[in-house]
Amino acid sequence: MLEVLEQQDVLVRMHEELQRAMKKKPEERRWVMVIDLRRCVGCHACTIACVAENKLPPGVVYRPVLDEEFGSYPNVTRRFIPRPCMQCDEPPCVPVCPVNATYKNNEGVTVVDYDQCIGCRYCVTACPYGARTFDFGLTYTETTPDNLPFLFGQSNADDYERHANYEYGETRLREGEKSPIGNVRKCHFCLHRLAEGMLPACTTTCIGRATLFGDANDPDSLVAEMIASPNVMRLKEELGTEPRVYYLV
């Protein structure tokens, strides 16, 4: 029992590995996410952390957790599959974009240039994982009444929604019809956090330490170790998209 408690938390290890990776040139890093399905309890904390971190509006989600149920009583089981963007090495969403608004950056992460995106949503139809959502410009508090004497009204309640979004290291306010409203949005491995030496929000929030993140080009990293194990799989590998998100089963 004591030995277990004395073990280093994988978050500490991944954090140290992240510092190491950030000293390398961007193109020398290979960001990979490993999700251990045996450890995932389906708490959805990662989904909520992602929504909070990226200030996602209603209808926009980067990392839902798929909840599957198998079998019939008494042999029933459930499986939870967190589904971020797969950051494919052969992404079907990239070549279809008519204006090069979505592309793989020099770290191999598929990103969206919000100021370039025309909102045609062709990339959404091309993604085999349903990993892209469209920002319809909704807010959580738009129907909340305001100026009532005994109510914490909209002008106060929407503080969170009025704060800037820092995706891609840019300060963006969601207002009017300005981007990212009218754009396609997706998981970007929290690039803005990585730049500050922080792990993605979903990784730090995972209560079961089921989500692991790091540089697979570092042979000593936890993720490099994990993706070399025989019980690893990727979603829809037959499509040849070469996802960078691995699942341990």
Binding site: G59, I81, I118, C120, G182
Partner: protein
């Protein structure tokens, strides 16, 4: 009250309804739309496919007069070009309103990715539209112009390219089994020709000059063409669906089942197959009815209605099948559903565009010298 007046009135009413829809679209963005992040393309994309098909097909028909000088089609070239131009404008308006950032359309021209089928299509349709416009101008000024002949020769492969590109737009999507059919870019030009022929049937039958001696023969030839293409269209449909069902790939089978037995089965069986295909085949196979202005014209309208539904039945079913089954319940929120039926705003915009297109056609038909006897 003659037919033209009735159609003028209906078109103006449709346009007024559409103006409300466009106002809502421009002031509230996409919030009021029923499409979402899963069924990401809706009615406006389907209508874009529909109108773009008519545009390419009408151009193909215009070459019968203006390029090949086939006697029976003499005098139909300019009106066909006008139908094509109006349809193309309606198609582009429909797809433009569908964009999340309409003001950035210029980026496709100046910062476009030519490797994208969508960018190729935008360029293709722009060139095609300009070509049709210049061709129409020349055909009015001097139908024997050598430049007109050159444009017609260039326009024919261009019309095949743009209509094929619409098929390729969907066909390249390997993640959607329902669309990922190698023959889709081949089928679409056939569909375009069929819808162009149907549009001409409607135009000549309902609005053509009654004094024109070749009119009944034109209707008969267009009827034969429409019937033949309708049979080919049925064959394509049978080939696609039977192979999909036989192949038994779940995602594909689910999409086909959605068309055949889903919540909108009636749109397929009643509107697309019965009203839009079988009834016109039956009526237009009768030489007497096929030569009759009213019968032939209204059958053209029914074929077009069938094509509009067919476009929707290509776009929507592929998107209503989840990429991963458990996505349906993974996260809930507005615009996160795999069910789709267009919202009032979408219907309004579409009806407005249809009204505008019909109105534009009628005004051109009345004011421009589009009929052979009107040109010196």
């Amino acid at each position: 009250m003659n037919l033209k007046r009735v159609i003028y009135t209906i078109s103006i009413l449709a346009l007024l309804f559409g103006l409300w829809g466009i106002f809502v679209r421009l002031t509230t963005g996409h919030r009021e739309a029923a499409y979402g992040s899963y069924v990401v393309w809706g009615l406006w994309v389907a209508m874009y496919l529909f109108f773009a098909g008519i545009a390419a097909g009408a151009f193909m028909i215009s070459t019968l007069d203006l390029l090949f000088h086939i006697r029976i089609f003499k005098g139909t070239g300019r009106i066909a070009l006008w139908v094509g131009l109006v349809s193309l404008a309606a198609a582009l308006l429909s797809i433009w309103l569908d964009l999340g950032h309409m003001e950035r359309i210029w980026k496709v021209y100046l910062q476009g990715n030519l490797g994208s089928v969508m960018a190729q299509m935008v360029w293709g349709y722009t060139l095609f539209g300009l070509l049709m416009l210049v061709s129409l101008y020349l055909s009015i000024r001097d139908s024997q112009s050598s430049l007109l002949k050159v444009l017609m020769i260039l326009g024919l492969p261009l019309s095949l390219f743009v209509s094929g590109a619409v098929g390729a737009l969907l066909g390249v999507e390997a993640s959607r089994m329902f669309w990922h059919v190698g023959l889709l870019p081949v089928q679409f030009p056939v569909f375009s020709l069929a819808s162009g022929a149907a549009a001409m049937l409607a135009v000549i039958g309902l609005f053509g000059s009654r004094e024109y001696p070749e009119r009944s023969e034109q209707l008969w030839v267009l009827s034969v063409l429409t019937v033949a293409l309708a049979v080919v269209k049925l064959y394509f449909l049978w080939a696609d669906f039977s192979q999909s069902m036989y192949g038994n790939i779940p995602q594909n089978v689910e999409a086909v089942r959605a068309v055949l037995y889903g919540p909108y089965w009636w749109a397929f069986w009643i509107l697309q197959i019965l009203v839009g295909t079988l009834v016109p085949i039956f009526v237009l196979s009768q030489p007497k009815l096929a030569r009759h202005n009213g019968w032939a014209g209204w059958m053209g309208v029914l074929v077009l209605l069938g094509f509009a539904v067919a476009r929707a039945n290509i776009v929507f079913p592929a998107l209503t099948v989840p990429e991963i089954q458990a996505l349906t319940t993974a996260f809930s929120g507005p615009h996160l559903t795999f069910d789709y039926f267009p919202s009032m705003m979408e219907w309004a915009v579409t009806l407005g565009i249809v009204g505008l297109a019909v109105l534009a056609f009628l005004i051109g038909d009345d004011r421009l010298p589009l009929h052979s006897e009107e040109v010196a």
